[in-house]
Every structure is written in C-alpha cells, then in structure tokens.
Symmetry: C2
Subunit: 334 residues, 2 copies
C-alpha cells in the first residue's frame, strides 16, 4: 500500500509508492523515447491500456476506437482510489494511506510526440478534459487537491512518446502550491491587493518579460525565473480554481498553449519540457489572493545538481532575454 508521509520539519508530503517499481526498468535510463515501439495509447490499441475513465468521442463505445481525447488510470499509480485515508501518527510523524486518483490523459488518437503539433481544437479539448476531471474528482470529499502536469520527452521524465499528461488528485496540498497560497495570502493581508494582479500590471507596463498577450492571458518569463526560458501562463482575470474557468478562457488557453509550445519547439529545438497547472485546493473557497496559472519549464540542460537539495537556483538566461527571444520566434501555424 502506498503511503503519504509528512516531513516533520518543513511539512512537505511525499508519496512512498514501492508498487511503481514494477514499471519497465528502462524508463529512467533512456535519453530518447522510442517512436517505433508498440504504442499502447494509439487508437485501436484500447485493450492494451487500463479501462478508460472517460473520453471525448466521435463514435464507438468506451474502450473502442473513435475517441479524440481519452482518460485512463495510470497503470503504475502513485496513489489508489480504494480505501480509507486512515490518518495517523507514527510517533512524531504524520502519515495517511496513499488514497487518490492517478490518471493519464491521452491527448490524441494518433502517435504525436509534442502537444505543440496538435490542432488548437485538440489542445482546447485536452484542457476541457482537465476541467471535467477536476470537477468530477472534487466530489470525493477525501481528496483535497488536483495536480495536473505534463512530462514531455525522456529527459523530462516521460516514459512513452505519445503526447499525454497526468493528473494526481490527493488528500494533501503539494508544498509548492501551499507555499504560493501562503505567500499570496500574506501579500494580500498586508497590501489588500493580489500579488498576481500587481505582477501582471507591472509586467504589462514594462513589457520586457512578456512573451505574448491574448484577451484572457498574459504569457511571461517571471522576474525570478529559476530555469532558462521558464514561462508562466497567467489569466488576466482573478480566479483561484482552474475548474471554474469559463468557456472563453479555456478556448483562449488552447490558442495560448499552441502558440507558446510552438515557439519553444521552433526556437529551442523541440526541447523536453514539463508544465504544471497550479490551482487552489478543492476544499478552499474562491480565494481573492491566489490565481491559477501554468508554469512551463523547457529542460535545456540535462542535469541539475545541488539546486535539488538547496532550492537555490542559478539561472544563466535572464528572463528579459528569454522573453525577447520567444517573442521574436515566428509562429508558422496560424
């Protein structure tokens, strides 16, 4: 059984999931993913995956061809749906059972590696699926937060090349999200304003770290970027929970993601990347101080060293230069 364990010093929850050891051994050692091996995510290979949770379909029944975007349980889940939380102390430590949902969003029926090469309509549907899954899983009162992320490319942690993202809904709030909630609340209490609103206002005023703007979004390289070409996609309007996004916002987000991912593919030589959707916990009301957003990290350097253990980052590309470069990268798909 998986366990959630809390670090007693900083309060960080960690998943201890020995079951995942049964994953294919070569997952973490390949530099490039095979594009010719059997693809379990391909349309027609539905019987090679766990039974689907949902799909947007043109035709067919569940687990048959005819889908456009498909959601399945992760075959090697970090958390599992069945059971009780059974929160308990182990001496001075806090733990609970690893209850939750770990799902895979297969983003397209054909074998495509990079979300950037999906159609805008396809990308919009991926974000609609995120939305729908969060709305659905929110009803499970054992669960507190939904973390949606993508590992693209072997060097960003992916084990299959077919474009997909993942969702881990768990009974805890990941520490990075918690720290953002705490920091943003402190700012709000002190100044009576949202730090996200202040940040966007200043970024738009100077423009030097802006990559692009649309009706609903500001795309920028943050002032204190940890990584070269780190990019944030932030909605203009206040909203703490992604699952409350309106249709106009989700549609616009599809356009924005297509654009920025295409810019990175063209400008940075199709890099591996991760993105993480930062959204408020299910259990919190609409928060005036926190804003959902997406943090996108191209993985341009293969290695990381002491930054892992210290949280002290050295970034060799100033965000002003990164933004200027990405602004200047022409889009060919429009």
């Amino acid at each position: 059984m998986q366990e959630l364990r809390k670090d007693p010093i900083v309060g960080r929850w960690v998943i201890i999931a020995p079951e995942r050891l049964t994953r294919p051994q070569n997952v973490s050692d390949a530099d490039e993913l095979s594009t010719t091996s059997f693809d379990p995510f391909l349309e027609g290979h539905e019987d090679a995956t766990t039974p689907e949770i949902m799909a947007y379909r043109n035709s067919g029944e569940a687990n048959e061809p005819g889908w456009r975007v498909r959601v399945i349980p992760n075959k090697f889940p970090a958390v599992t749906v069945e059971g009780q939380l059974d929160k308990r102390g182990v001496g001075i430590y806090d733990m609970m059972n690893g209850i939750g949902a770990h799902e895979v969003i297969v983003e397209c029926p054909h074998r495509e590696q990079n979300m950037s090469r999906l159609s805008v309509e396809n990308i919009r549907e991926v974000f609609w699926v995120y939305h729908d899954r969060l709305v659905d899983l929110k009803r499970d009162t054992r669960l507190v937060h939904g973390l949606i992320f993508k590992n693209k490319g072997a060097r960003a942690g992916a084990s299959l090349d077919h474009s997909h993202s993942q969702l881990i809904v768990s009974p805890i709030v990941p520490i990075t999200i918690q720290e953002e909630l705490d920091g943003a609340e402190k700012f709000y209490k002190y100044r009576g304003r949202s730090i996200f609103s202040d940040m966007i206002q200043q970024e738009l005023a100077t423009g030097e770290r802006i990559v692009m703007e649309t009706e609903h979004f500001v795309v920028m390289c943050p002032y204190a970027s940890r990584f070269p070409f780190e990019t944030w996609i932030v909605p203009r309007q206040q909203a703490s929970h992604f699952e409350t996004a309106t249709q106009a916002v989700v549609e616009d987000l599809g356009t924005v993601m297509k654009s920025i991912l295409t810019k990175m593919e063209l400008g940075l030589d199709d890099p591996p990347y991760n993105y993480v959707l930062h959204t408020a916990p299910f259990s919190s009301p609409n928060l005036p101080h926190f804003r959902w957003h997406i943090e996108l990290f191209p993985r341009l350097s293969r290695v990381a060293g002491f930054e892992w253990g210290s949280g002290f980052y050295i970034n060799t590309v100033p965000p002003e230069e990164a933004a200027q470069f990405l602004r200047g990268t022409e889009l060919t798909f429009t």
Copy 2:
C-alpha cells in the same frame, strides 16, 4: 553583473548569472565525465586554475605543488566578491547585486573521482576546510549564509571528474534552509523541544531507518524521503552552525562520510550524487531549534519530471528498505 532576485509570491531568491554562459558548452550534455582529458585540479597544474585562496600544504608556496586540499575561486562564478549589495526595489520586485563568494574545494592532489576513495584523514581535512572557509567568510558583514555542496558525476551536475565540492556564500538564505529554520522554530515554540532531537530519539528507538551510528552522528534515511536512498547525516549534539563544530565532531564526520559514501559506492554501483550541508545563517545566534546536518542524494534515476515544478515527490524505495540495504552493505576499507 549577476543579480539576486526574489520571487514575490514565495520569497525564493534566485541568482541570474548570465556570465556563466561562457562555461564549456558540453558541460551539461555529457553523461559521463572524461577521466583522461586535461585535469586543471591535478597537483602540478596549479597555473591552470584561478589563484588559490587557501590550501593545506606539506610544502611549497601558494599556487605550487605540495598541497593536500586546495581552495580556489570558481572560474565561472555565480556571485562575485567585489561591489556593493545595492539592495533595491524594481517596482514590486526586490533585488540586489550578486555579491558573494563562489569557491571550489579541490579535495585531493591526485585525480580521484569519488570522495569515498579518499583516506579518512583526507576527508576530515575537506571538512576542516569547509569549517575554515565559513569562519573566514562570516567576517564579511554583507554575507548572510554559506551553502556548501557537492555535485559528483556528470548526471549530478559536475563538470570535472576530479573530486571537488563548492561553496556559495551569499547575502540571502536559500529558501530550503529558510523553510527548515521556520518549521523547526514553529515546532520549538509549540512543543518546547527540538524537532531534530525528537526525530533522532524516535529513529534510534525503532532503528528501522538507521544506516549507522557513531559517537557523534546518526546516519538515517528520513521518514519522508523524497528520493530513493536519500540519507541524512545528523549530529547527536545540538548545534545550529557547522562552523562551531568541535575537533572530535569534525574528525568523526570524516569517518562517517567515508563510511556512507563507500556503502553507496559499493551497494549502489558508484552512483552520481549530491550532498548539501544545511547550516544556520551567519547572522543568527546559536539556535536551540535548528541543527546543522548533511543531506545526501544518490542520483539513481537519470530524470526528474513534474517534481521539479510541484515539490510533490514520488519515492519508489521506502526509507526502511533503503536503510536496511545500506546497513547490510559491508565496508571493505576499515
């Protein structure tokens, strides 16, 4: 000029150091470090490095052969010694100049890749050098904290194979250290005890996560380990600042590091690894709630994915199993 910039949401300081781009281009792309290329850290090659800051010597003058452990400025520094902090606001953001010291500790005069293969006496001297550098740099009132770390192996971020570690002394406290200070202080205020003391007491009582014990240290895989075989080296006696360690403690630490690094070399097939020395800021008095310690991470999996952006770790090796394995790995050097 390098800059230190603060993330306005979570308060994390980041170094923006474009000068480091002049580092050899292949640094981050090699999987293995060359063991036959020119070694600037080798005894006799002193003129290939920046002029030394200090050395423990058997003979010779500065920048001549005859040294045992040698400290030089990093050739591609993330921060620089000269200049003023010039702390200022940039609209809503906080920044200061990238003032500080970035030094390299060359751990031995001969070409050896792994600290585990240095003699115990040699390792002790490396830790004495850490001690001496912190004591010296502490006198610079512009500087607030000293971060000492090691990247061993290309996949852990090293760019040269000759065993070395690094020191970054800067005018800010790295966020991971700050979070530990905050968490430990909260625990102390609430319970009147040190979390480090409680943790060690419980670990010694159950023994299941203990790797080894000596007169002055407890070596354990922490309850909420983020990574497989994550290992902490914690002193038994309360001390917040490493630079206050007594001779007996530093000598014992040499033995402990030789042992645990040898266990990892033998048991885990000579893995790349990082360690980070966590110590309290120069500017704080002796703290009853925080204890200096070393966090050691073998890098068994080549990649990391969304964990980077979310702080949500999935660990496939329970610390109890990791500790049992490391306990059982026989040492051959004694």
